[in-house]
């Protein structure tokens, strides 16, 4: 399952933790039968994990990025910001491939995100009507998401094989060109990566839209109908405003998931042709965990993270502005 997709809920919806409406009364009750240590005992197991594998690594990762950190060499000299400077120095070992991989990530996000935002919305609008079999269709469209990227990629590489794949076979039967190099040549590789990703994750976004659609009060549609709004006007003036928080979530999560694309290109195109579809994550993971050039890899991962955070901020600002 695209881990990154499931891991980005909105924090904005939660109430501030410190606020307690019935203050004093609650305070007294909370400590009945409990020592002041109790809350920390409840927190401890999770905090140990959180500190070891989230908090410490963030700091540690930045520290690594300030060193020439080769896993295989004993010396790890401190080099300051040199790893970052190199990313901006044309002709350095890392700058060329890194920006090329950022370009691949950018292209993939640009091609896939609009489809992944719009197509599932259409599917959700159809599924939102009451008709026999709707839960069946919802389950069918969601099913590929349950399979995970490895199965999906291995399966589609077979289906899209230029010579013996089912897709070219049926294209040929229909009298269309049947030798399309889906997995080995530009621009087909992009069609493949985007198409497979839409097939894989469409259901995820559709399910989120569906839940959002079901939260829009029926009365708003009735009122709009009474005012003489047609279906399109109801969609524009009731559905879209009602879906705004869900849209923000879907757009943000989809962009982040697309920007983190790895498995599809690792297994279907092997980053090729050349390194045209080698994404940023792919290059960072190869640099850090295959070539063990961890200082550079860490610096690159912070650069990518910076981009992702900026995109999220722009997103939030855009939707906030539209709300006014």
């Amino acid at each position: 399952m695209a881990t990154q997709q499931a891991e980005q809920p909105r924090a904005g919806a939660s109430p501030p933790p410190g606020k307690q409406p019935q203050g004093a009364k609650r305070e007294r009750r909370d400590f009945i039968g409990a020592s002041p240590v109790t809350p920390y005992l409840f927190m401890a197991p999770y905090l140990v994990l959180f500190f070891t594998f989230v908090l410490a690594p963030v700091v540690y990762g930045f520290w690594i990025s300030l060193h020439e950190w080769d896993y295989l060499l004993p010396g790890k000299p401190f080099v300051g910001l040199q790893n970052y400077v190199e990313l901006f120095t044309p002709g350095s070992v890392t700058s060329g491939p890194f920006w090329k991989s950022m370009e691949a990530t950018g292209k993939f996000t640009l091609y896939s995100a609009p489809l992944l935002v719009l197509v599932p919305l259409g599917v959700a609008l159809i599924l939102n009507r009451k008709f026999p079999g709707r839960t069946f269709f919802r389950a069918v469209y969601f099913a590929p998401y349950v399979l995970g990227v490895a199965v999906v990629a291995v399966l589609w590489r077979f289906l899209l094989d230029p010579n013996i794949g089912l897709v070219n076979y049926y294209l040929g039967r229909l009298g269309l060109p049947d030798g399309i190099p889906w997995t080995t040549a530009v621009p087909w590789v992009w069609v493949t990566l985007v198409g497979v990703t839409v097939w894989w994750t469409l259901g995820f976004n559709a399910v989120i839209y569906l839940a959002g659609l079901q939260d829009i009060p029926r009365e708003l549609y009735d009122a709009a109908s009474v005012d003489g709004a047609n279906a399109w006007q109801r969609f524009l003036h009731v559905t879209i405003p009602g879906l705004r928080p869900v849209l923000l979530f879907v757009v943000t999560v989809t962009i982040l998931a697309s920007a983190n694309m790895f498995g599809q290109s690792y297994l279907i195109t092997n980053g090729g042709p050349g390194d045209d579809t080698r994404t940023a994550i792919y290059y960072i993971a190869e640099t850090g965990l295959r070539q063990f050039n961890m200082g550079s890899a860490s610096a690159m991962s912070f650069m990518l993270a910076l981009f992702l955070i900026l995109i999220s901020i722009v997103n939030f600002a855009f939707f906030r502005q539209r709300e006014d």
Binding site: G18, V140, G212, I309
Partner: protein, 288 residues
Amino acid sequence: MAQGTVGREKPDARRIVKISLSYGALILLTVVFVAPIVWMFLTSFKTNPESTRFPLSWIPREFSTEGYRPIFRAGSDAPVLRYFFNSMIAASAHAALVVVTAAPAAYALARMHFRGKGLMFAVVISTLFIPHVILLTPNYLIVDSLGWLDTLLALIVPGAAGALGVFLLRQFFVSLPRELEEAAVLDGANRFQIFIRVILPLSKAPLATLAVLSFLTNWNDFLWPVFVTFSPASMTLPPGLATLQNAYNTNYPIIMAGGVVASVPVIILFVIAQRYVIEGVSRSGLKG
């Protein structure tokens, strides 16, 4: 079928056309979604020559288990059965670890008062927005220094530090009525007893949702296991499929058989626990 459609209005011609078109689109889409998965199943039962022989046929002319035999054989260079058990152990242990650590923490954050609570909550939640790529290299080194590289522990533990479980469960605990806990306090129960005997039994649905989602996430995880496991003894199915694809290149029945082994458990889990999976996914988008 069109007759069963909720029809407060009379079914006129336009309505029937509209309904037929909708069903047509839905069924076409169903074919697009189901056909590839069916093709994977059927190919896994073909012989190697038949899997690529033109004209391609859906139903195997000669039903064969050739695709499964090499991957189930002991001492195979693609021990998919081993990957399968590794995946089972890792995903189950991971789901258990997530629930066992997230539930008490979420309860403390939802119901107790203590110094540093606001700060802890803010820090934990803010990490939901940190791109995970920055954890890749340092966590590799941390897992290495714990001696966990190329072991199942590397796949079970680090992922359980994510904040999503704490976040989802806290939202649920906050919504529970306080009266239940008050009654238990009057009966002389302490915090621990209240948590075990009152709160957890009321939280079966969200706990199941979290467990199922954690299991699926871990079962399908790809990037991390590709880099932290090297030997068949610790490899799970997703990286295993990658090695299978390399080792058997064009022997599609074998590769598809691997895909089937990786898919069947999650498809069964999805069919049984569909409500929890879809609830969990939509909840992560809405109430947050």
